[in-house]
């Protein structure tokens, strides 16, 4: 059966504001999944809390809507327990860059094969428009009482220094381009990150589609090659970081892709040879009668170092 983008839609009514940038992300997602013909039973979307956090309910693949900031942590357990799954995280800028920042950085260090999609609208959408960690200092979006007093952080640079092996930026209104980024991220082996610029039409009156339309340009058209060649890791990284700070014009596309780093799953399988052979969920832990696969003999063999055989003196 060939799946069309529509086949990845659920019947759940999409309750984002009309005109919200999230629609573009969703459309790109359906198209990417269809193009890759992803098996819905083997695909999992894990999300945090926020407008962005609702994404899994709208997609007909496994969907785990978790806690604010914790999607990556849940996804890590999901992926490690079943390394055959395609695991994708969706979260907002408050979710992934604020409360859940520790997990975001930790995932880069792990290089575990999870794709992280940041719905970057520079505000806390679902709590009515407070400043998010990606809103620049001094800006006053619609529902702020005062201009933002905190400095912003740069998600792309952060992903790069954290160790993500695929780092890109997309724009939700350029759905076709975004779709291609998503496909590339899914095909990549290792931690992948896409910073998706997403207008929030309700609370962000600064970063509007109008604003982005004037500013974004395509990295690939600018002669940027994101692929790391062996031995050139740090040069590529430094240049990618530099480009991620361009502000006057905003580059989108793939900043960095490194295919030479071992993933966490691979590191485990190197240590534990049976890990990939039979993935953990399908390993037998009991016999048909409900007794464990261990019996007294196996127990004594495995835990020999804790067992003392008594030798009584006569």
């Amino acid at each position: 059966m060939v799946r069309s983008p529509n086949d990845y839609r659920t019947d759940v009514w999409v309750d984002w504001c009309p005109g919200c940038g999230n629609y573009g992300i969703l459309a790109a997602l359906y198209k990417a999944f269809a193009e890759l013909q992803l098996d819905p039973t083997n695909t999992v979307i894990v999300s945090g809390i926020g407008c962005s956090g609702k994404t899994p309910h709208f997609v007909k693949v496994n969907g785990i809507h978790t806690l604010h900031g914790r999607a990556i942590a849940f996804a890590s357990g999901i992926k490690l327990a079943n390394p055959n799954l395609t695991v994708m995280v969706h979260g907002g800028d408050g979710d992934l860059m604020g409360i859940g920042l520790g997990h975001f950085i930790a995932l880069g260090r792990k290089n575990l094969d999870i794709k992280v999609m940041l719905h970057d609208n520079r505000v806390y959408g679902l709590t009515k428009g407070q400043a998010s960690p990606t809103l620049s200092k001094g800006l006053r979006t619609k529902s702020l009482a005062q201009p933002n007093i905190l400095n912003s952080l740069n998600p792309v640079a952060l992903a790069l220094v954290s160790g993500y092996t695929f780092v890109a930026r997309g724009y939700s209104m350029l759905s076709e381009h975004l779709k291609n980024l998503i496909i590339a991220a899914i095909k990549h082996k290792g931690s992948a990150f896409i910073d998706i610029l997403q207008p929030c039409v309700t609370y962000n009156d600064i970063h509007t589609p109008e604003y982005y339309r004037k500013k974004v340009y395509f990295l690939e058209e600018d002669g940027w090659n994101p692929m790391v060649r062996e031995g050139e890791e740090s040069d590529k990284l430094l240049n990618a970081i530099k480009r991620s700070f361009e502000e006057e014009r905003i580059p989108i596309g793939i900043f960095y892709q490194n295919n030479f780093k071992q993933t966490l799953e691979e590191s485990y399988s190197q240590r534990i040879s049976s890990y990939f052979k039979t993935i953990p969920p399908w390993q037998k832990i009991s016999k048909d009668d409900g007794s464990p696969i261990f019996d007294e003999i196996l127990f004594e063999k495995m835990f020999e170092e804790y067992i003392v055989r008594v030798e009584r003196s006569q």
Binding site: I64, I78, N82, I105, V310, E311
Partner: protein
């Protein structure tokens, strides 16, 4: 000859005491003796005073500790000063002759409180504060017998014999203590050799060096002082014994129980369990793999529990191990597991609290916290264990119940159990069952939260089913739904599980009464209180007072009917809560759940175990009309 002996060995943290305890415990076990050893240490890596307090028995397997001890082995002067009062009349103290002139006031690591108590004692005794003055005093007043050894000389013999540098030789300091105990109790060197071989398998030099010291010290002690505390040959009939810490026994149980994922963030006294699990990650026996066990050190405890829940969604048995500070960070996700009806096991080793509290000391002050942690109402199981074997079976029970009922299970333990090394019979693996609950891997139109039954069918991510889950209130598929009537149904579906668990889990797994209806006093306790309470029952019986002990194990759902049926036979003044916390938390819960008032309490919150001697004393004080006794013995 002794059939039961208490020994205390102490020295600076990081000087090999722990490895001495392991060697000694295996030596005793090899000869058939039962052993119970508690390890007391500071939150410190090197230098502060730590000690091991052990009971060895030739009849049965000891389950509690007591004071005074028969033997004190001091690796340094601080140990001598800290513990000389713990030694019985005519007891034995092993010490280093080079410390004779050391005064307590010159030891910087002694804390101000003890320093002041020593100052008062020394001025009372009219002593100058040195070891030698103390020895004279103890000889005269307590008839203490002293074994003075020249530790430096022993080490230089080692360094000469094996041409080791003095620094290298000094690493064997703690073996001197082992040798002294071997000599004093008359243990066979064959058994020591066995223990060394097992402890240092594949490292022949370590075995040789240790053996050299142990042999020469034990011979010197026997020759010059005699086998002062000779042990009777063991009358225990076990042919094999498990010698392990609580952390290790739980790790073993998790492996037998089919655990495939463990996440943790380092914390005392939980981390050793994860370390042990990781050493067994290949699950290999005779070169053949039984599966794979992923152990991951996460970035924090929030990630630890979230990833464990994630792994559980993927269909593996998963758990995380932590202590109070870590569990405090986990509570939001605990509620999430309750809400999405996901299995997950949290192995919770309590330590001294609140806040950082006493990181390396024990306590039981988190019971009420585990019962109410996280916002909202949701079903959870809180299960606690009283000793190593109970913990073994309960660990597997926790995994089973969690998957059978799709609920988070908190397995509540404490530092006392985690760090004590105990001899037990081998667990009976044939008694163990694995119950993974009802699962389904193929079903069109699957409803994860099917309202037609309180306990939903569970599936694995990656089976032939698509599933959704949300911490938001949800419909049967797992999609967000705020309809008031759906809300009521989902709410009730979840809460109903508590009743089902209550009716299905056998009461023997949830509370055990040791005693008879005509007991004068019934103690009510949980966790590590079990061993000392049972010994106190025996001890009181010797003086003609019948006591009983109600051991509480499951706190949620609470076995109210059973507890009521037992306790209602007694008057409040005959009931005594025995707990390691201030409020007597379990007794409050009993009151709340059964209406029964427990009229007396014996509590301890110094971070040290409850000792048999002080418990018996406290029970007598309760009999004499006191309502609350606060215990504080132990350095």
């Amino acid at each position: 000859m002794y059939n039961n002996i208490l020994i205390l060995l102490g020295g600076p943290q990081g000087s090999g005491l722990e490895s001495s305890a392991q060697i000694l415990s295996k030596t005793f076990a090899r000869l058939g003796y039962g052993l119970f050893a508690d390890r007391e240490y500071f939150s410190n890596i090197k230098g502060r005073h730590s000690y091991i307090h052990m009971r060895i028995s030739s009849k049965g397997l000891p389950v509690s500790l007591s004071y005074p001890v028969q033997i004190l082995c001091a690796m340094d002067a601080e140990t001598f000063f800290t513990h000389f009062q713990d030694v019985e009349e005519k007891g034995v103290i092993v010490y280093d002759v080079s410390t004779l002139s050391t005064k307590y006031s010159a030891i910087p690591s002694i804390e101000p409180g003890l320093r002041e108590r020593l100052r008062v004692s020394f001025s009372e005794f009219g002593l100058d504060g040195s070891i030698s003055s103390l020895i004279r005093y103890l000889k005269a007043v307590k008839k203490t017998r002293f074994i003075g050894l020249d530790y430096q000389k022993i080490l230089s013999e080692l360094s000469q014999k094996f041409t080791l540098s003095p620094a290298h030789a000094s690493r064997y300091l703690s073996s001197i203590i082992v040798g002294a105990i071997v000599g004093l109790t008359g243990l066979k060197l064959d058994a020591v050799a066995y223990a060394l071989a097992s402890r240092f398998a594949g490292r022949p030099q370590l075995i040789e060096h240790n053996m050299f010291i142990i042999e020469s010290v034990s011979k010197t002690v026997m020759k010059e002082f005699g086998t002062l505390c000779e042990l009777e040959p063991s009358a225990n009939s076990l042919e094999k014994m498990l010698v392990s810490s609580g952390n290790d026994v739980i790790a073993m149980a998790k492996i037998v129980g089919g655990l495939r994922f463990q996440s943790y963030y380092p914390i005392t006294p939980a981390a050793d369990e994860s370390f042990t699990l990781e050493t067994f990650e290949r699950l290999e026996v005779d070169g053949e793999s039984l599966g794979s066990l992923i152990v991951i050190q996460t970035e924090d405890e929030i990630a630890a529990i979230c990833s464990a829940i994630g792994a559980s969604l993927s269909g593996v048995r998963s758990s995380t191990s932590t202590s109070g500070p870590g569990f405090s960070l986990m509570v939001e996700a605990l509620g999430y597991a309750g809400q999405i009806e996901s299995p997950v096991v949290i192995t919770y080793y309590q330590r001294g609290a609140p806040s950082t509290g006493q990181p390396t000391r024990g306590g039981q002050s988190d019971l009420l916290f585990t019962l109410y942690a996280s916002h909202g109402e949701f079903p959870r199981i809180v299960l606690s264990s009283g000793d190593h074997l109970e913990a073994f079976y309960d660990t597997i029970l926790a995994l089973n119940l969690s998957e059978r009922y799709n609920v988070p299970v908190i397995h509540l333990l404490d530092k006392f159990l985690a760090n004590s090394i105990v001899t037990t019979p081998l667990p009976e693996i044939s008694k163990v069952k694995i119950d993974r609950g009802k699962t389904v891997f193929e079903k069109p139109d699957f409803k994860r939260f099917d309202l037609s039954r309180p306990i939903s069918l569970r599936t694995f991510l990656g089976s032939n089913i698509i599933q959704w889950a949300a911490g938001d209130e949800h419909d049967e598929y797992g999609h967000i739904d705020e309809d008031p009537l759906n809300r009521r149904k989902m709410y009730e579906k979840r809460m109903k599980k508590l009743e089902i668990i209550d009716s299905e889990v056998p009461v023997e797994e949830r509370a055990i009464f040791y005693g008879q209806d005509d007991a004068r006093l019934v103690m009510i306790g949980w966790g590590s209180v079990k061993g000392v309470a049972l010994d106190a029952v025996k001890e009181m019986e010797l003086s003609g007072i019948k006591c009983g002990y109600l051991h509480l194990k499951m706190f949620s759902p609470f076995p109210s009917e059973y507890v009521k049926s037992i306790l209602s036979k007694f008057k409040p003044e005959n009931l005594v809560a025995v707990e390691h916390n201030y409020l007597a938390q379990a007794s409050q819960l009993v009151r709340q759940q059964t209406g029964i008032l427990i009229g007396n309490s014996i509590v301890k919150y110094t971070g040290r175990p409850i000792y048999l001697s002080e418990l018996v004393n406290a029970l007598n004080r309760i009999l004499n009309g006191e309502r609350r006794v606060v215990l504080e013995y132990g350095a």
